[in-house]
């Protein structure tokens, strides 16, 4: 028999879709409440990064801003968001190992809400991370002079980028066999991307070929836009490309993630 299309949720209105996604978010929040260590990567780690980078490198790195901490915060924000976003894939891969996915498969729910619920929860985690970093940053001298609108714009852009990355995580979580393997891939891919960017240093100090790459990769664009929004109150030249990258990643990885998840769970 040839593959016929499966019609997913028959009577799925937006109402049932929302309600299913909410059930998934609620489940994830209960997990966090009962296993608070699930929040370490969005609480302790970013605090450590803010403190270490600002105190250890603060005096040693020249940046085109009035202080290193003001320069640094955008980089720390986006790095944390990026890790938390892709880490979604590890959490999903854990879900896939667990029999619960079979239960969901047998229920008349919107199947993609398992994924939507996962990524929405991670958006909440990312918001928490941003709030904590903002406060810790202010305690060690971060002075965002971009005003309320600039701040709101920066947070909005970061969350959009984080949401897009969490769909990369979903696609990878469904494609990679084990959560451990995925953790390795994240480390090998995201670390170089954050370091070869404008997160911690001025890209003009890099060798030309590296600078060329650093200036064009999405992390730099998002970091530059966030930096400009928080410090100057305007998006600067990076804002539009940063938004386009985020939307582009979403447009590719949202359907890819759902496809990979279906393929993985239906075999």
């Amino acid at each position: 028999m040839t593959a016929t299309t499966r019609r997913e949720p028959a009577a799925a209105g937006i109402g049932t879709w929302l309600s299913d996604a909410w059930q998934m978010v609620k489940r994830n929040l209960i997990h966090i409440r009962r296993t608070p260590e699930l929040l370490l990567d969005v609480t302790i780690s970013p605090i450590m990064f803010v403190l270490l980078f600002s105190l250890v490198f603060g005096g040693a790195i020249d940046v085109p801003r009035d202080s290193y901490i003001n320069f640094l915060m955008a980089g720390i924000f986006v790095q944390t968001i990026a890790f938390a976003g892709i880490y979604t894939g590890v959490l999903l891969a854990n879900d896939l190992k667990n029999g619960m996915i079979d239960r969901f498969r047998s229920l008349p729910m919107s199947q993609s809400s398992v994924l939507t619920g996962r990524t929405l929860t991670d958006l909440l985690r990312a918001t928490l991370a941003v709030a904590i970093m903002w406060l810790v940053g202010m305690a060690v001298g971060f002075r965002p002079s971009g005003g309320v609108l600039g701040g709101v714009g920066a947070v909005g852009l970061m969350l959009l980028f984080g949401f897009a990355l969490s769909w990369i995580g979903v696609a990878m979580g469904a494609l990679v066999r084990t959560p451990e393997a995925l953790q390795g891939i994240i480390f090998a891919a995201v670390f170089p991307l954050t370091f070869v960017s404008s997160a911690f240093v001025d890209t003009a100090t890099m060798p030309d070929w590296l600078e060329w790459f650093a200036n064009r990769q999405p992390m730099t664009l998002v970091i530059d836009a966030v930096r400009s929004l928080t410090l100057d109150g305007t998006g600067g030249p990076a804002a539009v490309p940063a938004i386009l990258w985020s939307v582009g990643i979403l447009a590719v990885c949202f359907p890819l993630g759902i496809w990979a998840f279906n393929r993985r769970t239906l075999q």
Binding site: M1, T4, E8, A10, G99, I101, R105, L107, P108
Partner: protein
């Protein structure tokens, strides 16, 4: 089968490959409304694969399957609205409490909140989980998990139910409890397909039995029909020592007939043709031959014998050991 036109669970020529493994080689299944089919087979026979296809969790490579007349391939969501599934391995959220698990499942069936609360309360009470209801599932025992998992598939009172090895791994007391629950369920009119490795379980619970082996249904019928295929009553003697099997077979042969020897079980058996006092004569003959006997009895053939006749081997050595005692209790005819 006679009921195929009204079958609520129906499969035709189902095929499934996993790489090199041919897990299903074209099986047909029919379960009429309100009836129970037990799919009986050893590990690896393809039972879980068949259930997963029927419950929309896996796509078949060939053939067709319907639930309540709806195609599982093209309209999975509509099938899901009518089925409940309790898989071979518990599909529960370990961090959620028992009540939270059931509540979530009810809401994912899109039942109204008040209905969910009522059903969850009823099920927790009926499955003896009220005391543990507000503890995370990770603190539950194996039997409690099985009960909660079964409760999960009942929240929406689905007319079709799939239970994949519902009692495997349970202690005898929990198994009896589970049988009781399942019997009550189907008395309510649910159409049920259950899989099992336990011959006794199929015999006890099901109207019809499909025996599966290596991805095929190798026999089907009622427990009695299957037993009839193996012939009438047999005298079965369990010998104490393996090295006396040959001597025992010779002694038994002197009573008339062709003895069958099952070495791993240390069983020697012959067909009984209504002769009186056969048990006494057998024990005397064995005693005279110096054979030590552990157990002897005349019994109706069991489903285990059916398997032996159909495939020439025992379904599974582990299962054999686990179920032989129960089977004898069920089927032994006092001599």
């Amino acid at each position: 089968m006679t009921h195929s036109d009204t079958a609520v669970i129906r499969a035709r020529a189902l095929e499934k490959h996993f790489g090199e493994t041919h897990a299903l080689r074209g099986i047909d299944i029919d379960v009429p409304e309100g009836r129970i089919l037990a799919v009986l087979g050893p590990n690896g026979a393809g039972k879980t694969t068949a259930v997963r296809i029927l419950a929309t969790l896996t796509l078949a490579d060939g053939g067709e399957a319907t639930g309540a007349g709806v195609d599982v391939r093209t309209h999975p969501a509509e099938v899901r609205a009518r089925i409940g599934l309790t898989g071979q391995f518990a599909a529960l959220d370990e961090l959620l409490t028992g009540r939270e698990n059931l509540d979530m499942i009810g809401r994912l069936y899109h039942l109204p909140g008040s209905t969910v609360r009522r059903r969850v309360g009823e099920l927790l009470a009926r499955f003896d989980l009220e005391d543990a209801a507000d503890r995370p599932v990770k603190t539950y025992s194996g039997g409690m998990r099985r009960r909660l998992d079964l409760a999960g598939s009942l929240v929406a009172e689905p007319p079709i139910l799939f239970l994949d090895e519902p009692t495997t791994g349970l202690d005898p007391r929990s198994r009896l409890g589970m049988w009781q629950l399942i019997s009550e369920l189907v008395a309510g009119g649910t159409t049920l397909l259950l899989t099992t490795q336990y011959l006794e379980e199929a015999d006890r619970l099901a109207d019809q039995i499909a025996v599966m082996d290596h991805g095929q249904v190798i026999a089907r019928g009622t427990a009695d029909e299957l037993k009839a295929r193996v012939g009438g009553e047999r005298l079965v003697v369990t010998i104490a020592r393996s090295d006396q099997l040959d001597a025992a077979a010779r002694a038994i042969a002197s009573l008339g007939g062709e003895p069958q020897v099952d070495a791993p079980q240390r069983h020697v058996s012959i067909a009984v043709n209504g002769g009186d006092g056969i048990l006494t004569r057998a024990v005397r003959a064995l005693d005279a031959a110096g054979v030590a006997v552990d157990d002897a009895g005349v019994r109706r053939p069991t489903l285990d014998d059916v398997f032996l006749v159909l495939t020439g081997q025992h379904p599974d050595a582990d299962m054999q050991a686990a179920s032989s005692v129960d089977v004898r209790e069920l089927d032994e005819v006092p001599a």
